[in-house]
Amino acid sequence: MSISDRVINIIAEQAVLEPSDVTPDSTLEDLGIDSLGLVESIFAIEEEFDITVPFNANEPTASDFDISNVAAIIAGIEKLVSEKV
């Protein structure tokens, strides 16, 4: 499964939606994921890919990890995964 599909599965599970309902341009707000849900999603992504996502819930916009929509999150994860090896 691609990184994109794996991230979408995690986000869909958090949002209690089908993966097909999670589109690249969906925002977390569109999907009904609140701040606690976001933190939980990031935890699940870190576990899935064995990476550390630079995200501070106090300053969601301060890090260079973009969470503005699903496509941005996937791109960020792909970058972190590629840097891992």
């Binding site: 606690l36 933190v39 939980e40 990031i42 935890f43 870190e46 576990e47």
Partner: protein
């Protein structure tokens, strides 16, 4: 001052998953203590406890709730639902704004600490779930009850080891009696039956390997239990106006501190708490028919408690009944007073005294009527519930038939 009555009761413990099941077990003198079942139990020297069996949290709570509810919170919410349903009280508007939750727990989310320490120390993981803190905090259960039942008034958690729930219920009583709150949800919960929880207790060497036998000469220690007891305390006129079924009245309480030793109990501290509760309730010692003892089954507690009762009640000590239901459900630590309050309610309402089971040999240092092994029918107008904690913090409640 307002009168305070109990209009709802709920519980889950090793004797039953509801109040009727628990009271039936107490009437029959059943023992809920058995072989513990959890990971690494083979590395413990203490392998028995009053463990809750057949409780399926999955299905009862959704996935999101499961990530936030430690076992002690699960027990609390289960018991709170039973209590509030029985009471029939609906918290809305001004009633909701002024009513709150005061609960007792000694350890809070012990199994959440245990699981996550295991994960980072033993398994070497460097990441824990984001909700570890809100799951393990001692006030988690009180907060979730407030959210679930729309209680927006004074809410907090009290932690005084084995007296936690008695101290909590005393605070709820004061809030209702003073008129600050029309109703309060109160009681306590504990869930320490996991490897780390029991291992910590083993260190003290006060645990029995075979049974809890309070007041019996051959007693050899305490046995831990788990679960919750939750009640609705309500202002009397408020309860009457809505036609609530009143279980009993809470008429007084007292707290005292031994200011002496961190683990050894004190006769004086216990005596002052019992005498104080009688004075607060404007009762004479001779009015008391039944005492639900702290009765842990340790050498130290039982003889100190009996000496304190003999001191406070004088010749009447030989006429009253005193039993320890810890022999059946184990010691629920911070939740124990709440589950034991059920025995007081059964005495007052049903006229049945829960027995001290496991009683085998009389002890001259505990020469009181401990209602050995079999429940007894008796008309009881006034009952006391004792809790004497490590740290020398004591809390005694006085209840009356209505």
């Amino acid at each position: 001052m307002k009168r305070v009555v109990i209009t709802g009761a709920g519980t889950i413990n090793s004797l039953g998953h509801s109040v009727p099941d628990t009271l039936e077990a107490m009437r029959e003198g059943r023992c809920g203590i058995s072989e513990l079942e959890f990971r690494d139990v083979d590395r413990l020297s203490i392998k028995i406890g009053g463990q809750v069996r057949g409780f399926e949290a999955e299905g009862r709570f959704n996935r999101q709730q499961m990530t936030l509810y430690d076992r002690f919170t699960q027990f609390t919410l289960t018991a709170a639902k039973e209590a509030i349903d029985q009471s029939g009280i609906v918290f809305s508007g001004d009633l909701a704004a002024r009513s709150g939750v005061v609960l007792g727990t000694a350890g809070g989310g012990v199994s959440t600490w245990d699981d996550n320490y295991r994960s980072v120390y033993e398994d070497g993981k460097n990441r824990v779930h984001p909700f570890v803190v809100p799951k393990l905090m001692n006030n988690a259960a009180a907060s979730h009850v407030s959210m679930e039942h729309n209680l927006k008034g004074p809410s907090f958690t009290v932690s005084t080891a084995c007296a936690s729930s008695n101290h909590a219920m005393a605070q709820a009583f004061q809030l209702v009696r003073s008129g600050a709150a029309p109703a309060m949800v109160t009681g306590g919960a504990e869930s320490m039956l996991c490897f780390g929880g029991v291992k910590a207790w083993e260190g003290l060497r006060v645990m029995s390997k075979d049974a809890c036998r309070p007041f019996s000469a051959n007693r050899n220690g305490m046995v831990q239990g788990e679960g919750a007891g939750i009640f609705v305390f309500e202002e009397y006129e408020h309860a009457r106006a809505r036609g609530a079924d009143i279980l009993c009245e809470v008429v007084g309480f007292a707290m005292s501190s031994d200011a002496a030793d961190i683990v050894m109990p004190s006769k004086q501290g216990a005596s002052r708490a019992m005498a104080g509760a009688l004075a607060d309730a404007r009762l004479n010692a001779s009015d008391v028919c039944y005492i639900n003892a702290h009765g842990t089954g340790t050498a130290a507690n039982d003889k100190t408690e009996c000496a304190a009762v003999a001191g406070v009640f004088g010749p009447h000590a030989d006429d009253l009944m005193i039993s320890s239901t810890k022999s059946m459900h184990g010691h629920l630590i911070g939740g124990t007073g709440a589950v034991e309050l059920l025995a007081c309610i059964m005495a007052l309402r049903d006229g049945v005294i829960a027995p001290t089971i496991g009683y085998e040999e009389p002890d001259p240092e505990c020469a009181l009527d401990v209602v050995p092994n079999e429940a007894r029918d008796a008309k009881v107008d006034v009952a006391l519930s004792n809790a004497f904690a490590f740290g020398g913090l004591n809390a005694v409640l006085a209840l009356k038939r209505i």
